[in-house]
Symmetry: none
Subunit: 200 residues, 4 copies
């Protein structure tokens, strides 16, 4: 049944679905809308995907992979000092927001809609969070090992806390009028909080 034919078409269906789901929400979006966006028959979608949920799963996977690609571009063990780590966090922040600014629907998909589709997709999302947390933790662990971060840091929890700050920023991008400005202020605030604290 599925999994045949032109791989470009499969990809273009995902593009359309990504856009439609983000615009109308998964529940309100119909397979016919997705097909209509491409000017193909809705039956055709079923040559590339088992069903609607399968489309959503693929959209989510692709979105998570794109985010993961950015996150994993850096080497967690490469930094040797606080200054280097700070620079790395800034770099990573910029790349990540690039993604969410370029595709402002991404946040809605990843943070709202596709998590509401299904227990399995929700679980997939949770697993991705877990993976991102583990990634952030590995940076912190490197810093503790190298001695430039506090030895008593609760690495696992702090990693999730940091990710929370980042994800919230990504979610905010969906709403804001001036995403560039938000990005800069957000990264600066996060970095300042992490490295300088809020206290005078």
């Amino acid at each position: 049944m599925a999994r045949t034919a032109d791989p470009n078409r499969r990809e273009s269906i995902l593009d359309a679905a990504h856009s439609i789901f983000a615009r109308k929400g998964y529940a309100a979006a119909g397979i016919a809308d997705v097909a209509g966006e491409l000017g193909i028959a809705h039956g055709t979608v079923y040559r590339y995907f088992e069903n609607k949920r399968d489309v959503a799963a693929a959209v989510l996977n692709r979105a998570l992979e794109r985010i993961a690609a950015v996150v994993m571009a850096e080497d967690a063990t490469a930094t040797e000092s606080l200054a280097e780590y700070r620079a790395q966090v800034e770099r990573l922040g910029h790349r990540l927001y690039e993604l969410f600014v370029a595709d402002r629907a991404l946040g809605r998909l990843v943070f709202y809609d596709l998590g509401a589709v299904d227990d399995e997709l929700r679980e997939r999302l949770r697993a991705a969070h877990e993976m991102f947390a583990e990634y952030t933790a590995s940076y912190l662990r490197n810093g503790v090992a190298k001695g430039f971060l506090r030895p008593d840091l609760d690495v696992d929890t702090t990693a999730r806390v940091i990710n929370g700050m980042i994800f919230e920023g990504a979610a905010q991008v969906t709403h804001t009028d001036d995403p560039q400005r938000l990005r800069d202020r957000w990264i600066r605030a996060v970095v300042a909080l992490m490295f300088d604290g809020i206290a005078r």
Copy 2:
């Protein structure tokens, strides 16, 4: 008067809907499920609510009000020193997590499902975020004014960043096996990050 109108009926429907929506998701849940949970006819639900969306809106409102009640219990201008503020943040954190621990579905409802129902509900959710941000900002502003927080703090952005840490924790509660432990570690990590920084 006829069979006296149970004044708790409306409330009990919201309870049931809260639970069903959290369990199956808004889209998958049916009015029949909600009514079935209470052992009443589904038509009865329509004596108390216009339609399914209206039920969702009421569930969301109630949930947001509960959260707001906790957040607004503290007085933003009462703190005079960094230590007092730190204590206040810890207090607030505990109360907030109490809520999410007591009702582990709350996070799912507020962070996923009910935001996907509707543009209007999504907007309502956004407005609530905004309000919470403003609230956190008022704490920070107080600290800057009183001189115990950095004068160059980007108050508005930092407020949202801090809220991101908090909300992420609330979302995590939905998944964890040991919510008490998560709560304690989370609050400690957030407070440490805010007040001590991560640097050695």
Copy 3:
């Protein structure tokens, strides 16, 4: 069950139903609307009527009786000459239109809505038509017997044809802005057609 209690209330329910049915149509009108019009509980309607259809039947009956009362006020055998008959037709026409002008909803009820409720009501309406036809026929028969109408008149059919002219006028009243003027022109046209013909 029904058929108890205050007869004024029964009548007032019929008044309300008459008005509501005419305004919204039988199908779109609810028992709750009827009760609401009177400021009583909808359950109360069921103390006076078996069900909604029963209300419609009573409304129709009353309406037909009112029309019948006007029609039967004249004595079919009283006229002795063409001139007398012509005067009688004019008189009857005026009285009949009085009714439809006073209650412009009457036409809609009798000609559209209540005939569409039910096979039985439709039959009742048909029977009323039959009766009116028989009545008109008795006038014609009198005229033929007395010698002032054509002896070769197809009395039964012509009676129905004449009634058709009259009913169409009643139906028109529902739509017109100036019912008085319509009434006068209509009666004049009908009488002219019957007694003078259209030919030069």
Copy 4:
């Protein structure tokens, strides 16, 4: 192309709806009945019509068009004498009754049920009446101009009065056992009334 779209499908749905609406009445008839009559799924009906009301509107339109086609087949200005006009009225009457005799449900649909569906359909029906009245008036106007009808004729009102006679006959066809005989007697009675009068 897929299972080729039957171009008669839409038409056959209208046929079925025409028949079902006439048999059970619009309100009592369900889309499922219509689909059942054709042995198709009820969802299929919604591929051809927006909703139930839309089906009714199409049924009504088609019915009115059929009637209009007959009415408009004659040329109002073609007659030069009373005899010609009389022949024309007879011809038109026959053709019109042909329609109502062939489809005895037509009268019920056009005179009762479909007028009760909706304000818009009622208005459409009224507009059709108006058009028919204008048509009849144009015949009369021609006769007055040519000098074979009374110069003092109230053309507009008389046209409606004449139509009333015709429509009543069409409505009667629905009930009668012997429609052929009714038709002949009706036309004869109408023509006699118009051209000979009832007076001796």
